[in-house]
Point group: C2
Chain length 159, copies 2
């Protein structure tokens, strides 16, 4: 069984290739330490958001995936993603973040594959996101298509 296959079946696993992390585990539990999440977002340079609103957003997300590096009894949040949805047709993935120390090691791919698996398991057929320019190719490699059939992502700004 491949590394990723093992990862996705929930078996904790140790990689041989990199000593930075011991065991990567995923959780869909939304009882997340908000301070730890804020630290993770700080690490990638995101603007701070009120924790009260972050809590509300997590509560009302359809799907939340946290990625941890677990070492002995200690687990450290190294990645996060969440999706809004109508629970029937569409989902939109937001707030995809991987700690800089864990980037470039397939962790973002693993995180995204996990949230896609979760959404597919709930029979969501239309999985969407809005990608910053520097991550468009990353999402392309995961099977996302930009502007399919000319469909454009649009954001409202007050006139």
């Amino acid at each position: 069984m491949s590394f990723w296959k093992r990862l996705f079946t929930g078996v904790e696993t140790t990689t041989d290739s990199d000593s930075v992390y011991d065991r990567i585990v995923f959780s869909t539990n939304r009882e997340i330490d908000l301070y730890e999440l804020e630290e993770l977002c700080d690490a990638v340079g995101w603007s701070r958001r009120p924790l009260r609103k972050v809590k509300k957003a997590i509560e009302h997300s359809f799907c939340v995936v946290s990625m941890y590096n677990q070492s002995n009894d200690f687990k450290h949040l190294i990645g996060f993603a969440r999706a809004t949805s109508d629970h029937a047709f569409n989902a939109t993935i937001w707030d995809v973040v991987v700690h800089p120390e864990y980037q470039g090691k397939g962790m973002g791919k693993a995180l995204m594959e996990k949230i896609i698996d979760e959404l597919r398991a709930e029979d969501i057929s239309n999985i969407t996101l809005f990608a910053d320019p520097h991550v468009v190719d990353f999402y392309r490699r995961l099977g996302f298509v930009a502007d399919p059939e000319g469909i454009r992502g649009m954001f409202w700004y007050p006139e």
Copy 2:
């Protein structure tokens, strides 16, 4: 007070310019006649979707706006839009539809302005949507921007 201003303050109004409709009223009630909604979607040529899933999607949308033409005691569904959201930061508008007989009369604009108002009233700052090519300019005129700062809308397809 302008026509639209009156419309949005909830006062039923009669337009002078077109006898097709008498009074346009909006509702955010999600107790919608699903058969009437299906008829409306049929009228614009959308593929049929299982009503069970449509019901679920409406139940789990953050915001639902129906637009009716009311004449005496009878009201007829002529437009619809809904939005998913995390209730805190982001919303995505889906399923915007206006009956062909009412297109080109400002009804789509009224419908969109109503759902934007609803989302803004809930303090949602990031209002997004995915626009088919032929309606990109329509949304632009409402204040939506395509691919701001190079952000791309992406859709996942199985690899």
